[in-house]
């Protein structure tokens, strides 16, 4: 195995978190930084050639290739896991920019009480209201501590939105339930699609408080604090599963890469498939010495480093630590170990598919143009008389209807899925249907976790990650009530017919939900109950930091990227300002 020259910093993964850390350290320190990305190079100016639905949205060109590596799934610890032979319920990205290139750019913040879920619930409803096998715990950082980092994130992305709570003052038109924010969004809300306007009016008529989706798809030209200028969105409808060809959508290649490319101390190495983190013998004082990877030509390479950042997304962060033997694997039966615990997946589903008499101009839109409603999120509604905790956001967006993926959704009464009647209805309703989607919180449970699969291997012969994951009554009941409320809104919008979500049963790997899978290397305040401290620093190796959704101890209703970036900024500050001067555990 070839050993390369030592780098000060190695970052595993070139997505949102890895590249944000590379930008921060590249700009603020003289450290040599090497980013290892196993996928291909990407750049915003190349995306103009790629607006092909079949290749990108259906065959998933930008996603990780399941033939090389996938995960296995079972519903409970007694079951036998089988591989997800194609990714479907979540879609991990690959290539420079990662999933940040093909996201929709919806950017709500998490609610303040989300960070203190255990204590706040205990305080308000008593600890007995938490489900029997819950694994809910506080984050160890509060919303107030994170607020300045949220603000920095929003400036970085140029978010388009409307504040609802400015330093404690309620603001008309924004989200009245949001945590306080220190300033207004950098840019005003995006244009509102017709379907979303119907939702706004319908929801208001029922006394709810809809507000514009905080969007990373710019409403107007914007220059961020790094001097990166981006044009406004043209509502072409190619966000999700595509890179933005004009860079109006904040994506790592439009927001971070141009800054990084000017820094001589940062290198991005493509095609580098990391297999192990190399560390000194286990123990409380262990250190990571670097990483081994297979390069684009198939050669195994050792890259030594002084500091290692693991930024390879939720599942691979957990898997690489398991494969490397760093930390104690979680064992729910024995109640031991922390690595792999608290696996969650945002509870996301189309609660109401609403059909209208008038066309909706669905071809026009962006991934984040539309309306949200937080009246049923978190603890914004009283749960004393309900049989579940928490809730979710309701959203009505127009993301640009693509013909293959969207044709054929017809009212249930049509009764067929092929043939003349179905075809006629498909044509009639193609532009007369809209979905109201729920994004709900997923509590952590002792029985939902990750470990290494005993049977299935990846292309290198390394064990696949095994997910043990299923819904519980809390999510099922929450989905039931939120579906009911959503259907009421759809009726108030003037829908002539509504297809209703049939309900959550077992976790279904075939239905796309969201790519918001969280947990595995959770943060916390003690090594007994978490893998890393609140800076993402590993309890057993002070020179190893983990970034991303794998740090979340519970799953949020709000989409996680703003919180993930805010936490990455916080870690960057701690490393650049404190760790570099005095390496060791950060308080």
């Amino acid at each position: 195995m070839k050993t390369l020259r030592k780098a000060d910093v190695v970052i595993v993964g070139g997505g949102w978190t890895g590249l944000l850390m590379a930008k921060e350290l590249g700009a603020r320190t003289a450290l040599s930084v090497v980013v290892l990305e196993r996928g291909v190079p990407r750049s915003t100016d190349k995306y103009a050639d790629d607006m092909d639905e079949l290749d990108y949205a259906i065959r998933l060109r930008m996603m990780q290739d399941a033939a090389q590596e996938t995960v296995t799934l079972r519903h409970d610890a007694r079951g036998r896991a089988v591989p997800l032979r194609r990714y479907a319920s979540f879609l991990p990205g690959s290539g420079v920019g990662g999933a940040g290139e093909h996201w929709n750019g919806q950017c709500p913040r998490n609610l303040p009480d989300f960070f203190e879920l255990y204590s706040r619930t205990k305080e308000k409803y008593g600890v007995n209201r938490l489900p029997e096998d819950h694994a809910v715990q506080d984050w160890g950082i509060t919303y107030d501590e994170l607020e300045p980092y949220y603000t920095r994130t929003e400036r970085l992305l140029g978010l388009s939105g409307k504040a609802g709570n400015l330093r404690g003052q309620k603001v008309e038109g924004g989200n009245p339930f949001e945590g306080w924010r220190s300033e207004e969004y950098p840019t005003p809300p995006t244009k509102l699609p017709y379907f979303s306007a119907l939702f706004r009016d319908g929801a208001k008529s029922l006394g709810y408080h809809p507000y514009p989706v905080p969007a990373a798809t710019l409403s107007q030209a914007y220059t961020n604090p790094d001097g990166i200028s981006r044009p406004p969105c043209v509502y072409c409808g190619y966000c999700e599963r595509f890179g933005c060809m004009i860079g109006a959508k904040a994506q790592p290649t439009s927001v971070l890469l141009p800054v990084i490319e000017k820094k001589k101390n940062v290198t991005i190495r493509k095609g580098a498939w990391v297999r192990r983190l190399v560390h000194d013998a286990a123990g409380s004082e262990s250190r990571v010495r670097g990483v081994t990877y297979v390069d684009a030509t198939g050669n195994e390479v050792f890259q030594p480093a002084e500091i290692v950042f693991l930024a390879s997304w939720t599942l691979n962060n957990t898997r690489l630590l398991l494969l490397s033997g760093i930390g104690e694997p979680y064992n729910p039966g024995a109640g031991k170990g922390t690595l792999g615990r608290n696996l969650t997946h945002q509870v996301s589903f189309a609660a109401a598919t609403a059909f209208f008499a008038k066309p909706l101009n669905r071809f026009m839109g962006s991934g984040a143009s539309g309306m949200l409603l937080s009246d049923f999120d978190g603890d914004n509604f009283d749960h004393s008389q309900l049989s579940f905790l928490r809730g979710g956001l309701l959203e009505a967006r127009n993301t640009g209807a693509h013909p293959i993926g969207e044709f054929g959704e017809v009212p249930h009464r049509v009764g067929s899925r092929w043939g003349s009647t179905w075809k006629k209805a498909g044509i009639e309703y193609f532009d007369r249907v809209g979905r109201i989607v729920v994004s709900g919180e997923h509590l952590a449970y002792k029985g939902n976790y990750m470990d290494l699969d005993p049977t299935y291997k990846d292309r290198c012969g390394d064990a696949l990650l095994r997910l043990t994951l299923n819904w519980r009554e809390n999510e099922r009941r929450m989905a039931e009530l939120l579906t009911e409320k959503t259907v009421e809104i759809a009726r108030a919008m003037g829908a002539t017919e509504v297809n209703t979500f049939p309900g959550l049963r077992n976790y279904d790997s075939r239905r796309y939900q969201s790519t918001h899978v969280q947990g595995g290397t959770i943060l916390g305040t003690s090594p007994e109950s978490s893998v890393v401290n609140t800076h993402g620093q590993h309890w057993q190796a002070a020179n190893l930091f983990v970034l991303g959704g794998s740090l979340f101890p519970t799953g949020g209703g709000a989409n996680p990227t703003p919180t993930i970036l805010a936490m990455t900024y916080r870690t960057a500050d701690a490393v650049a300002e404190r760790y570099v001067k005095r390496p060791g555990p950060l308080a």
Binding site: I58, A66, L84, R86, F407
Partner: protein, 181 residues
């Protein structure tokens, strides 16, 4: 080496065919009197002619040509499916295909070993004579296999072939896109 295989179709059955040539001129062979005996030979990459006729007939029942507009026949869905099966998708280049292959409940996704090519080859065997049936008999036949993996692929690929970018071989003359505006 095997001889190239073609799907031979007459202009009349298609109601007209667009022909592209390398001089960048597009000509339309319309289904009028003058062209009524003209036929096109389209090279096949995966199907043999018999299979192509069966797949085309089945796709035409899923997305029929009728009063609400053109369907799978006019869009050239069978050509699209043939191209897809011949390419990396057809051989499962991007699917995890390591064993063991275990049965699992439906919510774990397709767990079979068979590739799309194999599923079609096998599925079309079960449709022998299908293209000779009348429409009612054809629908009854498809209803019997509605729950099969083969049918779900055929349905999905028919929609893809109706609405994909024409560069993939389907949606000829953008008839699918014009249907939905």
């Amino acid at each position: 080496m095997r001889r190239r295989r073609f799907l031979t179709i007459s202009c009349t059955t298609l109601g007209g065919v667009l022909v592209y040539s390398l001089d960048r001129k597009v000509s339309l062979l319309s289904a009028n009197e003058k062209n009524k005996d003209k036929s096109l030979r389209i090279p096949l990459r995966f199907f043999d002619e018999g299979e192509a006729l069966l797949a085309a007939a089945a796709a035409s029942r899923i997305f029929p040509s009728d009063v609400s507009g053109p369907g799978a026949k006019e869009a050239g869905v069978v050509i699209y499916i043939d191209r897809q099966l011949a390419g990396p998708y057809g051989s499962d280049r991007y699917r995890y295909t390591q064993g063991p292959f275990e049965d699992a409940p439906a919510e774990f996704g397709y767990q079979g070993k068979a590739t799309p090519r194999e599923i079609y080859r096998e599925g079309l065997k079960g449709l022998t004579g299908f293209d000779q049936l009348n429409a009612e008999e054809q629908d009854a036949t498809l209803e019997r296999i509605e729950a099969s993996v083969f049918f779900s692929l055929l349905r999905q690929h028919t929609i893809e072939g109706m609405f994909c970018d024409p560069m993939h071989g389907g949606n000829a003359d953008m008839v699918g896109w014009q249907l939905i505006g």
